[in-house]
Symmetry: C2
Subunit: 322 residues, 2 copies
């Protein structure tokens, strides 16, 4: 992305670059003042819904490398932002996209990156309304997206009550093989859970189930997990064969699953709920993996089989990578 003999970012001036970006995005960026082109983007009033806001960055060498294409990197940035909106049960609306890049970035790489941004934005009806452009030293590229959505009844975290069953969508682990850039954010599922007042707490699984589970219960409750129910992705099995870790550990501790982890209100009948889910989302697996229990003094996460803490739990940490 920095080595070709072709046109580089520094061969354009800023005004030309902004014009190129507008062309690449087409109708994914509305005319100013809603879209790119003024000091601020001007968004219409939101009389009833709450606004949702979240930011996610994409750093070359950290969140992606040369093993994925520019288009896939662009898609990844949009999808991981959409996943945060899904985790609140919201609808994506607008985003700003700031590009921090070396001047020696291939111009065509950036064009393909925006093509990926456009593809994923169009799929989920997201409009790009602004951003910033900054120069970095050679061989560096980063993008920061801030996404805005709406929700009439957003589902929060740390709000699950004792007895609420815990559910997870999809399958977990080994996302590094492909899923980390190629996944469907669970927007429809999150919206349905929010609007029908079904979920008591919800997050998306970005840093590994083991870490995200802690965000479900209120401070006065703990988590009981039935380890043999954890849905393990095929990728986790493939990677486990090449490493010293078990597939289960990979499913619990790998990052970037982008699945929904939520608790069902215990006043809802689980069998009926699961049957409704199957009818509405036949292609999205749903698994009950545990429940919220009274505060356990030993640990926040308890193994249902042994009734003891799980000794090997260690989740992803952005500043302390092992």
């Amino acid at each position: 992305m920095f080595q070709s003999d072709g046109q580089k970012l520094k061969d354009s001036n800023e005004i030309q670059l902004i014009e190129s970006i507008k062309q690449w995005l087409g109708n994914t960026t509305p005319p100013s003042p809603l879209g790119i082109g003024d000091d601020c983007a001007v968004l219409p009033p939101q009389p009833k819904a709450h606004s949702l806001v979240s930011s996610d960055a994409l750093v070359f060498g950290q969140h992606f490398d040369r093993s994925i294409s520019a288009e896939q990197a662009g898609q990844k940035l949009v999808l991981r932002n959409l996943s945060d909106i899904a985790a609140m049960g919201g609808y994506p609306k607008y985003a700003t996209l700031s590009i921090l890049s070396a001047g020696n970035l291939d111009f065509n790489w950036l064009k393909q990156f925006y093509s990926g941004i456009k593809t994923s934005s169009d799929t989920y009806d997201l409009k790009i309304v602004g951003g910033d452009l900054c120069q970095l030293p050679n061989d560096q590229f980063q993008a920061v997206m801030t996404i805005f959505g709406t929700a009439t009844q957003p589902v929060l975290r740390n709000a699950a009550s004792i007895k609420d069953p815990i559910y997870i969508t999809g399958q977990l682990g080994g996302s590094i093989l492909e899923k980390h850039y190629n996944f469907q954010p669970r927007l429809s599922q999150g919206q349905w859970l929010a609007e029908n007042n079904l979920a008591s707490a919800m997050v998306d699984v970005t840093d590994g189930l083991a870490k995200e589970l802690n965000f479900l219960p209120s401070k006065s409750a703990s988590i009981l997990i039935d380890l043999k129910t954890i849905p393990i992705a095929q990728s986790a099995h493939i990677l486990a064969e090449k490493s010293s870790e078990s597939p289960l550990k990979k499913a619990l501790c790998d990052g970037e699953d982008y699945e929904l982890l939520f608790t069902l209100k215990h006043s809802i009948e689980p069998a009926q709920f699961e049957s409704d889910w199957k009818q509405l989302f036949p292609h999205t697996p749903l698994t009950k993996i545990g429940s919220i229990i009274e505060k356990n003094p030993l640990s926040n996460i308890i193994d249902a089989d042994t009734q003891k803490p799980i000794p090997w739990l260690k989740s992803f940490d952005h500043f302390n990578r092992k």
Copy 2:
């Protein structure tokens, strides 16, 4: 900022770091879900006002260096984002702050950076509601802020009509000596211009007057500038003495003035307007520097004295620095 023997960013895990940030910000970040702590921040409905959104980054080595303190760097990031809200005539409300940093950043430097963020946010009643944390290679630090404001009648750019006089606040040039991190965003002035329906177009001067002037008129108009009226800052004179550039050129072409550049609707009586301004904003100089004229085929910016283009005009460009 990367060299001390003290505590480093990488000595904290992510959860500890988020807790530290919440402590540093105090009541500048409201309790979740409005503030930091969920997948998205949840903002209240805005029934009447438009929402304003803008993003600005701060890159170590580009927007600041070791000559300013961590606190001053934090203040600068907030102030430059506020200036974009001012340029629409809006009120700042919320911001997300994403930190992209090397693990070898001094922990105390980041604490002081947040102290600057807090000081400027509190002065202008801005709340920090979320963001992202990412790791970069050693010796790198960047922060991206996305700011949200409201405005019932935002003032746009590229909307000035022929005969509208052009005004600038404050004095221009030489901001590198201090003003680039230490200035008052012209929020009250912008709000007054917007709410009293006085300005036909408005921008803030971030990349030099010569560049920003182009953003005032509609496509069918040009700009007439009276060069001897340009308000030149003392810093521009000081820097000009040490360089081959004139103070006037510095005032027109230096960046980061963060003043308001606007056109007055020509239906408004300028003398009365200027008198009202003096009474309301006695400490903010206001200068009429030209007016919008019919489209000139020679150039977009015409010298009032010679009636010809100004030959030496060249403004700041982020990807083509001279």
